[in-house]
């Protein structure tokens, strides 16, 4: 593959293809991922090329998908499970939390669980109930799992391959409303490590943290702030479990101010953990408490209300203002 401009969706598709070419043990499983290519077409064309044994259209039951993935992993396979939408991961929750997350520890390392759970997550697509949620905290609170969220085509392309090659189970979150965002992807570059956050825009006044779909929002806010002479440093967290906060600590030690942005409900969202850790580590550098911008503590609303529910540029700037006001 030559360097080319790709959407996040297509980058995932090509990343999956590459992973399947590189390792015959990689098996994709999910609802409608075969002939249809998935409701978002992320697996488009893969069943045609790799066959029904490697791209498996499953019965309609998420516990079944994850539970059989566990068995396949025990047999040496590397299952990549697609959950059709974020809100449908819960029937699989028992398998994920009590089995996938625990089997490596239970067996004292004798059984590996190299399972990737792909979840298109987040809102903003005008969908009906259960199609717009951000369940990442449920997984990040679970020892034994790792959780990553991609925000751009380059991370999508490399990240999915890194996740598949990784020996631990990974919840791989894809920002569904950004599937069509484009960037150039050069397959011959050395990818950044999977479990590392990254400063995506330098700045001096406030450190803004985001991941997945909110990275773009944070960058837009930084752009707007710059016009008003305010300089925001934006960090794409990329990995939610483990968190990679050293770059954040460095940044906050300089800026003294920190705002975390995510779509998930604020209460016990990732922002809570980050606020706690940043405060523990940078206590004497902070000039304001870490502020959180997130979804309200309500169920994700009907789509006519989602613009008001979701953090946007203005709400990020509002938090920046409040932080500066301390």
């Amino acid at each position: 593959m030559a360097a080319q401009t790709l959407t996040i969706g297509k980058a995932l598709n090509l990343g999956l293809r590459k992973a399947m070419e590189d390792d015959a043990k990689v098996v994709l499983m999910g609802e409608d991922i075969g002939r249809l290519g998935g409701v978002f077409r992320i697996t488009d064309g893969l069943q045609k090329d790799f066959g029904e044994d490697r791209v498996v259209d499953t019965p309609l039951a998420e516990a079944g998908i994850l539970g059989t993935a566990v068995g396949l992993a025990m047999r040496g396979y590397r299952p990549v499970c697609e959950i059709q939408f974020d809100g449908f991961v819960f029937p699989a929750y028992n398998q994920i939390v009590t089995q996938v997350a625990k089997i490596h520890a239970r067996s004292r390392g004798k059984l590996a669980m190299p399972i990737v759970i792909r979840i298109p997550f987040g809102g903003g697509i005008g969908a009906v109930e259960h199609h717009s949620e951000s369940p990442e905290a449920y997984f990040a609170h679970t020892p034994g799992l790792k959780v990553v969220a991609v925000s751009n085509p380059v991370d999508a392309y490399f990240g999915i391959q890194q996740a598949i090659a990784h020996p631990d189970p990974i919840v791989f979150l894809e920002p569904k409303r950004r599937y069509w965002e484009k960037a150039e992807v050069d397959p011959d570059t050395t990818p950044e490590p999977l479990f590392a956050s990254r400063v995506v825009r330098g700045g001096d006044d406030v450190t803004v943290l985001a991941y997945g779909p909110m990275v773009k929002t944070a960058l837009q806010a930084a752009e707007a702030a710059a016009e008003e002479g305010r300089s925001l440093e934006v960090v794409d967290l990329r990995t939610l479990s483990p968190l990679d906060l050293d770059p954040v600590f460095d940044s906050v030690r300089r800026t003294g101010r920190c705002v975390v942005v995510h779509e998930a409900a604020v209460t016990l969202g990732l922002g809570a953990e980050i606020a706690a850790r940043v405060t523990e580590t940078c206590f004497h550098s902070l000039e304001a408490p870490v502020l959180r911008v997130g979804g309200y503590d309500t169920p994700y609303p009907p789509s006519k209300l989602e613009e008001e529910y979701l953090p946007d540029l203005d709400r990020v700037l509002d938090a920046v203002d409040r932080s500066m006001g301390f």
């Binding site: 019965p59 209300l305 203005d314």
Partner: protein, 379 residues
Amino acid sequence: MSVSSATTEVVDPVPGAEAPHLPQQPDLVQLLTPEGERVEHPEYSLDLAPDELCGLYRDLVLVRRWDVEATALQRQGELGIWASLLGQEAAQIGAGRALQPGDMAFPTYREHGVAWTRGVDPLDVISLFRGVDNGGWDPVATGFNLYTVVIGAQTLHATGYAMGLQRDSAETATIAFLGDGATSQGEVNEAMIWAASFSAPVVFFCQNNQYAISVPLERQSRVPLYQRAAGFGFPGVRVDGNDVLAVLAVTRAALQAAREGQGPTFIEAFTYRMGAHTTSDDPTRYRLASELEEWKLRDPIARLKAHLSRSGAADAAFFDSVEAEADELAVRIRRGTVEMPDPPGTAMFDHVYAEQTPHLAAQQAEFEAYQASFEGGEH
């Protein structure tokens, strides 16, 4: 043993799933042939007056028109998405009309036809697909629960509600709707286990429309779905889902058995999703046009119309009047949709709890202040 060989060894494939040949299926209850001929069935009889037959025809035509209009509204950007019932009208009207007022129905997201029979305003269904709310009707007053999008979850609710009916010594029953794909969900199987264990007055009404989005029935079961019930210890029956009379008769009998304390029944309405899964779907990716053509020959409306004409139960004037009524309905739906107001932003806070928490009240107040700051031109 290779997988390919193993997976092709399907035991007792579901007849009709690939190339429908309904009449050859001895276990399929039918009272009206695709050609509109009235036939008898040893176990299920039905004696309807002409105006009752006409009423069913009217139902079928009106819900199809509603559906067509909603699909058009979605294409024009007025709805976020629409889940079409095209081809499943008879299954839904037959089941819905079998219900008595005190019965309670638990739909999926596609039972617009059942909603209709429960007196739910089409606009109250459309508001969900427009993104205004999650369905505007009153589940208690209508005896029709809100749509449930998480596949299968409602089957347990229906069973629990039926357990409540037992405790109330109520002489009513519940009906749980589900799709063929839903039969694979653990919760659906638990619902059947519960229903059997408690002899709950619940009917499981499965519309086997041959697909779960793109996945054909064979992936979910290699034996006919109605046979599932026997494994749980209660009767299962397969009915021609495109035959409104058969569906009505079979569902009535099952509901009556439930009301009389005989416990659950599983009904497989053998039908076909003639449209896309939803307006977001592209069925040309996974099924052949010829399959659809075959099923068009079994259209549920055409066969009742043929029967009404042939038997003299209805004349051209009747058909015209239903058509006119459908046109009016379409106009009302269109106007009601485009005029439907957006909800206020605060609506998302309103009913999270019966007793709102101080925390959420504070969040709401912040939200309101923030919104007001724009109006005041502060930002």
